[in-house]
Each structure stands twice: as structure tokens, then as C-alpha cells.
Symmetry: C2
Subunit: 462 residues, 2 copies
């Protein structure tokens, strides 16, 4: 069966793409590029340099780095050729037995583990402290849902090879500049510190139950203080510990007063003194940088603390209905798994898909026109079309993007295309314009038109 769709004969089912993946049309692309460029420009101004890593990594690089759940979400690439040749018949009854014998590569799951691998592999060619940014897609075989995709982009900035809190200060300044430039100035940036969380665990009497504590805290945004309490009770924490914990389930402006207050609340230990020294250093550096934006110390911020060793960050846009749009922190032993110990690092990652959704919701893309051409040149006859092509060359030589309508169609059809493509100007050429070496220029917004020289058009459009 054939039917006509979009003016073209259609004989079979329309093709699709894998679930959880997306095509980006020109309108979507220009808005995404606006976000990426804004972030990239800030990264560059702070001295970060671009790197890129391959989409596929050896599977051994990826497995065991994201927990058991993460391993299941890795996309694995089938070995090329006769992929069964490395397996025996009785390997083939169970997927998990067969898996390592037929798929030795996987798609990257984030940009952090590839960075660790990259730093170890190329450490003799890099200058430390190494400031890198990386903007590439990552893939996760997650169940797709609103705002969660199987292919999505991360935009990471990391500083490798320095323990100085000036790194954290730069990243806080980057957060501020990125969100201001994206007109998301109501963003909220929260910070916590792994050693402070350890100090809290010590203070409430459960120094060895740090993991259970952070797992419960991680759910605070969803289940609230009472939910966290119930969760901890069921993990074996006693009522006294819960009462001691409550004052820390708070978000307060990060300043000397807050730090002093928290200092008086926790028992003194190596953990607490490290945390407070780091937070005080950060305040000192932010003040030196004349940083004005508020930063919150949030005792509930835990972010699945697997590799973080110091400060932890999370940025949200209030009232967006969307969780964190960026997170990060300090990890002073990320490269340990690849055999290089004591390589300190700190970094952040923007999730541009969520930022995109919020900006669209708030109509922040209004001014972005996806059409790279300023003008469409239209014509009444073949000779006028040739004249249009000459003018197009002249305009492009001046850096003015333009198109000549490619076919000999009625002028109404050409204008229809101009309208749908949102051209700012249309140039119309008939016999008179060719003779006079001019062009009738119409401003498509105002509707005003006049017949002018090419030099005049260049002047107006440049």
C-alpha cells in the first residue's frame, strides 16, 4: 500500500531510532550549540583545554567502576567477525558467562573514568596541574523516561594534579558565570564535604556506618528528614543518633559564622579539622576573587560518595521540577584503579539535556534564530536566477550567509519557503533589477521593501 505523506509517495513503515535516543533538528541544534558554546567559553577563560576520548573503551576499563548496577547499564559492543570463536558450547547457555567472551568493548558511561584512564595513559605528555574540559555524549542502557535518555551529553571540567582549594574556587566561579550567561541566575549551588559527613557519622556515634548514613541522606530531597530518620532506624541507627543528626539536615549560607556553628556541633577529629580547613580555604579564595554569589553548606548533600574524597557540589534550578543540573567534587584517588596512586583531582559536570529543558520551559531561547542565512534570493526567470547567484557570491565574500532559491518556481512558492524558514530578508530579482544591477530588498518582519544597489544590501546586512 502506498500513500502520500509530506508530498512524497510512501510505501512502508516509517523508520525509527532506538528508544532513548534522539535526532536533533536544526532548531534544537542551534539551541544546544548555544548552551555548549556558553559553557565552553567559560571553561576556556578559566584555562581549561579540550580533550576527546573514543566512544568505545576496552570493557575492562569500564567494568567495576560504576557499581554492580552500573555494570548492567553498560552498552557492550559485539566483537567483530566470528564473535563466537572465543567461546565454548557450554559458555553459551548463560548470558553472563558468554558476555566477556563475545564483547570486549563498551560505550563510555561517563567522562570521568575515561579521564582517569586518559591521564594515566598520557601522563608523560601532560603538564600538571592539568586543566581539561570534555564535551561528548555518553551512553547508558537505563530505562528511558522523561528527561532520561540512553544517549546524552556531559560537559566536564576537571583539574588534575593539585590539592589546592583554588581549584574548587575556580569551579564555583565557573558555575556562577555559566548560569548567569545562560540567564539562569536563580541557580542554587550547594556544597558539602566528605570528611564533614564522616565527622557527622562520628558525632552521632556511628563512625563505621558511614555508607548507610550517606545512602539515607542521598534520599533527603525525596523523602525529607522523617524519611531519612525511618531509613536509618531500619538500618540499625538508634533514636539518640537520629536526634543528634537532625541539626545537620540543614542548608545554610557558607560563611565563617556557619562554619563556626557546625564546628561547635561536631566532635573534633582529623575528619572535621580537614573539612573545616578546606571550607575556610574555599571562602578565603572566593573572597579574594570578589565572588558575590551565595553558596550553601548542605548537610544532606551526599551524591553517592563512592569516589569523592573532599568537597562535593550540586547545582539546581529552583522551581524547575528537575533535580540537579550539575554535580562534581574532589576525588584524590581516581586514577588508583589504573595503577597510579595519589593523583588528586577536582571536577564538575553539566548535564546539558536538563539545562535545555529548563531553558525551553522558561522561553530563554527566544532570540536564537536557527537560520544561518540572512537573506533568500528569489527570481522571476532563469536570467534573474543567474544574477542572484552572482549577488550571492558577492554577499558571501563579505561574510553574509545567503541562499538562492534553487528551482524555477512561482515567486509565491519561493516566498512561502522564505516564511517557513524564517528568513530575515528576501531579495527579489526580475528583469528590471538585472538591468539596473539592483535588487528589491524586503524586510520580512516589517514588510517594508525598496529597490537598492548590491553595495547598499551589503551595508545593511553586514
Amino acid at each position: 500500500m502506498q500513500k502520500k505523506i509530506g508530498g512524497y509517495l510512501c510505501a512502508m513503515q516509517t523508520p525509527t531510532i532506538p528508544k532513548g535516543t534522539r535526532d536533533f533538528l536544526p532548531g534544537h541544534m542551534s539551541r544546544r550549540k548555544h548552551i555548549l558554546k556558553t559553557i565552553e567559553n567559560v571553561y576556556l577563560k578559566f584555562g581549561f583545554m579540550p580533550i576527546e576520548t573514543p566512544a568505545m573503551e576496552n570493557i575492562s576499563t569500564l567494568t567495576g567502576k560504576y557499581g554492580e548496577e552500573g555494570d548492567k547499564l553498560l552498552f557492550r559492543i559485539l566483537n567483530s567477525g566470528d564473535f563466537l570463536s572465543k567461546s565454548k558450547e557450554n559458555d553459551r547457555n548463560d548470558a553472563w558467562t558468554l558476555l566477556p567472551k563475545i564483547a570486549e568493548k563498551g560505550l563510555r558511561y561517563d567522562l570521568t573514568v575515561p579521564l582517569a584512564r586518559f591521564v594515566v595513559q598520557h601522563r608523560n605528555d601532560l603538564q600538571f596541574p592539568f586543566r581539561r574540559y570534555q564535551m561528548q555524549p555518553v551512553w547508558r542502557a537505563d530505562r528511558p523516561q522523561k528527561g532520561r535518555y540512553r544517549e546524552f551529553w556531559q560537559c566536564d571540567a576537571d583539574i588534575i594534579g593539585s590539592k589546592s582549594l583554588t581549584g574548587e574556587a575556580d569551579l564555583v566561579a565557573i558555575y556562577n558565570e555559566v548560569f548567569l550567561n545562560l540567564k539562569l541566575s536563580d541557580y542554587e549551588l550547594r556544597i558539602n564535604h566528605r570528611r564533614l559527613l564522616e565527622a557527622v557519622a562520628e558525632t552521632i556515634g556511628y563512625p563505621d556506618n558511614f555508607k548507610e548514613l550517606t545512602i539515607a541522606l542521598d534520599k533527603y530531597d525525596k523523602i525529607g528528614a522523617d524519611g531519612v530518620a525511618r531509613e536509618l532506624i531500619s538500618s540499625g541507627f538508634n533514636e539518640e543518633a537520629i536526634e543528634k543528626l537532625r541539626p545537620f539536615l540543614a542548608k545554610q549560607v557558607l560563611n565563617e559564622a556557619t562554619i563556626s556553628r557546625w564546628e561547635s556541633m561536631v566532635i573534633s577529629s582529623d575528619s572535621s579539622s580537614t573539612a573545616f580547613k578546606d571550607l575556610r580555604d574555599l571562602i578565603t579564595y572566593l573572597e579574594a576573587m570578589d565572588h558575590k554569589a551565595t553558596l550553601y553548606l548542605d548537610g544532606t548533600l551526599a551524591r553517592g560518595l563512592d569516589y569523592y574524597t573532599g568537597c562535593i557540589f550540586e547545582a539546581t534550578i529552583p522551581n524547575s521540577g528537575i533535580g540537579s543540573v550539575s554535580g562534581g567534587g574532589r576525588y584524590d584517588d581516581l586514577t588508583g584503579v589504573f595503577g597510579v596512586k595519589d593523583m588528586p583531582g577536582v571536577g564538575i559536570s553539566f548535564g546539558i539535556d536538563r539545562i535545555y529543558d529548563i531553558m525551553e520551559e522558561r522561553n530563554l531561547f527566544d532570540e536564537i534564530n536557527e537560520n544561518p542565512s540572512k537573506i533568500l534570493l528569489c527570481h522571476f526567470e532563469e536570467s534573474s536566477m543567474l544574477y542572484c547567484m552572482k549577488v550571492a557570491s558577492q554577499l558571501r565574500a563579505e561574510g553574509i550567509g545567503c541562499e538562492v532559491y534553487p528551482d524555477r518556481k512561482k515567486i509565491a512558492r519561493q516566498f512561502d519557503y522564505a516564511n517557513k524558514r524564517n528568513f530575515e530578508y528576501v531579495g527579489v530579482v526580475g528583469e528590471n533589477e538585472v538591468k539596473e544591477e539592483k535588487m528589491t530588498l524586503k524586510n520580512m518582519k516589517s514588510g517594508i521593501q525598496d529597490t537598492v544597489t548590491i553595495a547598499e544590501i551589503i551595508k545593511r546586512l553586514a
Copy 2:
């Protein structure tokens, strides 16, 4: 066993990446970005709009589009979870039987088939003629060798929905501008036409052996005219046909004289008149555009003609030792495989990896400095470092990229970092500079230094 490498303790084998893939370090990245940006700017000026498609496509979208050889080179993605659940035990003895049951997605092999799928899927949301560009990596499980990678980038521009030769004219103009802007002005652009090749097959008496003819012609660059002759003889062509073919194994400037000569050499047919009309249209349009660069009509150019229906392009850089750096052509039924007939298109694709290699060989990247920061701020004590951070904020507010050396290290170590990172300027701060609110500015090339105000630094570096 542990050893110290790059200053860090190293305990195990250095991790690697899959063969045929590459990491891009900052220096490599800035040169690649220069090439991509150059091509993108030209595409935009000619009215092409960006799209992106997912890395993974449904395997049915990809298979059967690249020939039997191409199907083998597809990277396939293993289904998530219990991937064996859709197969029976006796499917599992043979890789090719099992394959479709365990891998329903594949990595894109080029940008052309995804474009065809995209156009069909989104045809009701696109304005035709649709000018799109796309710059993304593609993956092929090819045997890696010098200049051939398993992950590499393509940069495509296509015009969909118009049969006008103005499309070809725009693409020829794009070739010229891209190569001039990349300082590869000695590029050679050759053109042929599928219908002209058909006319040649008719002329030499083998109208039904078009495929064998083009397969032999495709090898002309490697085996020469005599090699092509031997190949054709062994395919059953007779000596008389070979003699008749010889005049067409030539490359001549495309102009009216050449067309007239070729016209007198082939027998008149629907094929030949279509080809010559197209080539004449192209000449007319290029003249209208005041296009100056030479274009060659090359009777040996065939480019595996599977989907091309009209003009065929190929660009090379002479004496580079590298084959084609870009190819393209007209395909007037690419979307037919997805059920939409008669959707005309024409496009080209730049291979930036080969362009990169040629530009590096010719030292064309000289002026590109990978360091995004203009200045490194160095300090003699803690208070000077804080002052540096203040100045850094002021410089960044003026759009000047900068870094503060993050650690309290000896000044020699800070300068060593500045040298290795190729900073243009270093600002040095001690107690005096802090007191006077100045900075000692050293130009790292000239070695000249003087102590100046921050306003003066902004003036010099902006």
C-alpha cells in the same frame, strides 16, 4: 611491582584503548577544531543547518546499505540484559545465525544513511529544499592502518529536495572556499557523471556491463590505463571496446570545449544528453557565481557508484601521498530504501582525519596555540596568591583567559609550568606588587618585563 612514572607511583599495566581508536590531546584538539570550524563556517555561509543523529541506529536501518562487505564492518551493540533470551539453543552454534537475535542496534557507519532515515522520519517537520550539515564520528570495524581508523569523523553537507544543478554549483564553491581557508589552495577537484559513464558503456558496445566497467575504472589511480584494460579483458570486454575506451581515460578542464569534444566521442542517447545538460548547467551556474577555480572532468572517476545518479565529485591534495580527502555526488533515490521515492539529493563529505595529516605534514598549524589562557599569574607567598586571584577575576571579567598557579611552589617551578604550557605572558606578584596594586608582566617570547598597573595589563592583553 611498583615503579615511578611521570612522578607518580605506578603499580600495574598502563591502560589502553581499543585498536583503531584515538585519544585527542589538547594540541591535537585545537588543530582539529580549527579544521571543523573552518568547514562549519563555510557551510553556514551557504545556508546549511546543523543536525545530529544518534550514534546507534536500529540494525535494520544499517544492514544492506553498504554492500556485503559493509555489513561485516558494522559495529553491533549487544542487546541489554539477558541478551540470549530471544535465541534458541541451536541458534547459538553459528555467529551469523545468532547475530540478529542478540544485537538489534549498530553504530552508524556513515552520515548518509542516517540522513536518509532522518529525512524520511522527519519529512513533515522539514522545509524542502533542506540544506543540512552534520559533523559527527562514524565507526567501521575495518583493519586499522596508517590513516585508517575505526572511529573517525565525517563532515557532510547535503541539499535534499531539489534537482537543480545550483546545488552542485554551491558545493563546488564550498570546496573552493574550504580549501582556500585551510591554505590547501593546490587542491584538485574532479567531477564525472553517472549518465556519462553509462554513455561510455553504450559507446564501447557494453551497455549492460556498466558495473564491471565502473569497478575497473575505480582502480585507475592504482593500476593505470593498462591495468584497467587487463581487468576489463578478464571481465570479458573485447579489444575493440578497450581501444574505444582509451580516449575517455582522461582528465580535462571542465569547460564548453571539453564537453563538445566528449559529445563528439560518445553515441547519442538519453544518458549522454542528460549528462551533458547537467554539466553545461553547472558551468553556467559557476560562471554566474564568478567561480574562478579549475574543475576537471575525469572519465576515470567512478567512486563505487551504488547510489549516485548524477554528478560525482572527488577532491585530492596533489603530492600528499593521500587519496581523496572529500567525495560526493548526486543521489536521486537515496530515501527509496526507506519507502519515500523520488526524493532528490546532492552532497559532499570531508574526511577531516586525512586533511589533518596533510596540514600537519605541511606545517599549516603553526599559528595555533593550544593554550586558551593568555597569562599565568605566579606568586611568592600566600598573600600574593590571593592578590593574583583577585586580578584573575578582573581579567576574566574583561574576557581575558588566565590561570593562577594553584599551589604554593617555588617561583622557578611556576615558571617551568608556564614554559611547558606555552603561556604568552606571566604575571609575577610579590609583596611590592601587592602593596602598589601592580603586577610584573613578563612577555615569555621577548623576555621583556616591566611592572605595570592592572588596567595596563588589561589594555595589553585584551
